[in-house]
């Protein structure tokens, strides 16, 4: 009895460690997120069968074939043009178009993703720069603050995404084509969050701090670089996260009207013309992955910069 208890003790300790690790998982966000994702995938499979069944039953009836429930489930998940492709079909398509095909080929999703990504990044860079410059002007000039700010807000009521086709076509007519028109749409979308965030950020130093700079006889530029800019950086990164996500949307929509040449948006449009649902979903997942990576990169940059500025995690 005692011997077996002694033997059992380490196992119990191991089990305790196991449960504490489990508890840590359950208390964090990882386990709940994983379970919710698993539930979504399960529901997705359910809907795949449900939505694709009518067409499948129709083919069975026409062929006069005998079918069982197992057949039905298997066949609904292997259709060429399903109403809703099963998750594994989408993953297979993603694998096929990213790994199996050369990245230079027109069928490679990586190539299309790269085209979208490059115009996203260009537009994001221009938009962020423009946004910061506008914010500097608004903070330092009262007339600009009063007159420009309402119009910056009003500018966002124009649904630019809806205008995207016109901008693309018109700029093409003038001879500006390729990356820049798409990037301009991203710019228009991404400058707004940056302006709003940076105006708030540049104004975040307290009056007492500004007064201190004045007692040091600091010039306007010195106040800007040593006080306003550092205190605005957290706001910059927060608005950059929004801006980069919205730039991607701008780039994708900007690719819709170019006659479906290249890019993720073109893949979506081509997929919808030819009823290639699997292709649409693959492009969607690629876009989602791009968005996640871009937002994560901004987050990493934020952590690096704030650490260099002396913030303690």
């Amino acid at each position: 009895m005692t011997a077996s208890a002694r033997i059992a003790a380490p196992a119990e300790a191991g089990a305790a460690a196991g449960t504490s690790a489990l508890r840590k998982l359950a208390e964090g966000n990882t386990l709940p997120v994983l379970i919710v994702v698993a539930a979504i995938v399960a529901i997705w499979y359910g809907f795949t069968v449900y939505l694709n069944a009518p067409w499948q039953l129709d083919t069975y009836r026409r062929a006069g074939a005998e079918w069982t429930a197992v057949d039905l489930v298997r066949d609904t998940m292997a259709q060429e043009r399903p109403v809703l492709p099963a998750p594994h079909q989408v993953v297979a398509e993603l694998w096929k178009t990213t790994v199996d095909v050369r990245p230079t080929s027109n069928r490679s999703l990586l190539k299309h993703a790269w085209i979208t990504l490059s115009s996203t990044l260009l537009g994001f860079a221009i938009g962020t720069t423009l946004g910061v410059l506008l914010a500097v002007g608004i903070v330092h000039n009262r007339a600009m603050d009063k007159s420009v700010m309402p119009w910056v807000i009003a500018s966002q009521t124009i649904p630019i995404l809806a205008v995207a086709p016109m901008i693309i076509v018109v700029l093409n007519a003038v001879g500006v084509s390729g990356l820049l028109p798409k990037a301009l749409i991203s710019t228009y979308l991404s400058f707004f969050p940056v302006v709003v965030g940076m105006v708030k950020g540049f104004r975040s130093p307290e009056i007492i701090q500004l007064d201190l700079m004045r007692t040091y006889n600091a010039s306007g530029a010195q106040t800007f670089w040593k006080l306003r800019w550092p205190s605005a950086l957290p706001y910059l990164f927060t608005s950059m996260k929004v801006a980069v996500a919205i730039s991607l949307v701008g780039a994708i929509v900007g690719e819709l009207p170019t006659g479906a040449v290249a890019g993720l948006g073109a893949r979506l449009l081509a997929g919808s013309y030819y009823g290639q649902t699997v292709q649409i979903w693959a492009a969607l997942f690629m876009a989602a992955a791009l968005a996640a990576v871009l937002v994560a990169l901004v987050g990493v940059a934020q952590r690096l910069v704030t650490r260099r500025m002396g913030a303690r995690p």
């Binding site: 964090g28 386990l31 997120v33 007159s147 119009w151 948006g265 979506l268 997929g271």
Partner: protein, 286 residues
């Protein structure tokens, strides 16, 4: 440089000087301050229009590239029936119905999720993640599922508005402080009483934030979804076909309608917000 351009530039300079003067005025009374607050952006907007008109006419920019504002205005007046039909199709059907369904279901989902901390922790990061995704891309799928008419556009709007509403409402429901909840408990309030009398009012600023974000998202979603196939009416349809026919003034007219509808929509939501969350510092402060 010809006279029209010079005139436009002169107007711009004059308006700029006037604005500088106006913002330096030391307005004592509240109405005066409010009038200046309205006047300055109005002058700026007028200047934009004048400079636009002057430059386009003076420099002889082809109207295919950029029509002057006067031409757009006359086009709006000439094609009111078409614009109204498009507005009805896109805004009154797709946007409003999708907005109501999306925001409503997001709200209900948030209240359901709120009772389970586990689901909350699982869904919130996902909701935040989905909010950053290019959801607009589901438009072709929705068109395939729900057909060419407005239900497919409404479906896109529902999906686009659902997640911001969910995330913001859940966040708002957490906003009421522990001491307030404890007070409700000492009153022996039920879950629903606490919800309706304390937590929902406390969540109102967050909910209205989502409603405002969604008001612009909904319009964009509905218009872009129309690029993937529509009946022959609708704002997105009109924009894409008139671009093809190089009727750029019609496109601009449609944009003006969309901008006006979007601003009004946003403004109405903001007004309701002021009425409902009158107690919030950001409203009280003026």
């Amino acid at each position: 440089m010809n006279l029209t351009v010079a005139g436009a530039l002169a107007f711009w300079a004059a308006a700029w000087v006037l604005n500088e003067r106006l913002v330096r005025l030391d307005a004592r009374t509240v109405p005066a301050r409010r009038a200046i607050g309205l006047l300055v952006p109005a002058i700026f907007g007028l200047t934009l229009l004048v400079v636009w008109e002057g430059l386009v006419r003076g420099l002889g920019v082809p109207t295919i590239l950029l029509p002057p504002p006067s031409m757009i205005w006359s086009r709006i007046l000439n094609s009111l029936p078409t614009l109204w039909a498009d507005f009805q199709q896109t805004f009154l059907k797709a946007v409003l119905i999708g907005y109501a369904l999306g925001c409503g279901s997001g709200f209900l989902a948030a209240i359901a999720v709120d009772r389970s901390p586990f689901l909350k922790r699982g869904l919130l990061p996902l909701g935040n993640f989905v909010s950053a995704l290019p959801i607009i891309g589901i438009a072709p799928i929705m068109v395939m599922w729900f057909g060419f008419d407005w239900p497919s556009k409404a479906a896109v709007v529902v999906v686009m508005t659902f997640f911001p509403m969910l995330v913001n409402t859940v966040e708002g429901l957490n906003a009421s402080s522990a001491i307030d909840c404890d007070l409700m408990r000492t009153y022996a309030a039920t879950y629903w009483q606490t919800l309706f009398k304390l937590r929902l009012p406390a969540a109102a600023p967050f909910i209205f934030n989502a409603l405002k974000i969604n008001s612009t998202l909904a319009l964009i979603g509905a218009i872009v979804a129309e690029f993937f196939g529509t009946p022959i009416v609708g704002m997105g349809f009109r924009i894409s076909t008139e671009v093809g026919r190089m009727n750029i003034d019609m496109v601009w007219a449609e944009i003006a309608v969309a901008a006006l509808a979007g601003s009004l929509f946003y403004g109405i939501v903001a007004l309701i917000e002021r009425a409902v969350t009158f107690w919030h510092p950001s409203v009280r402060g003026g």
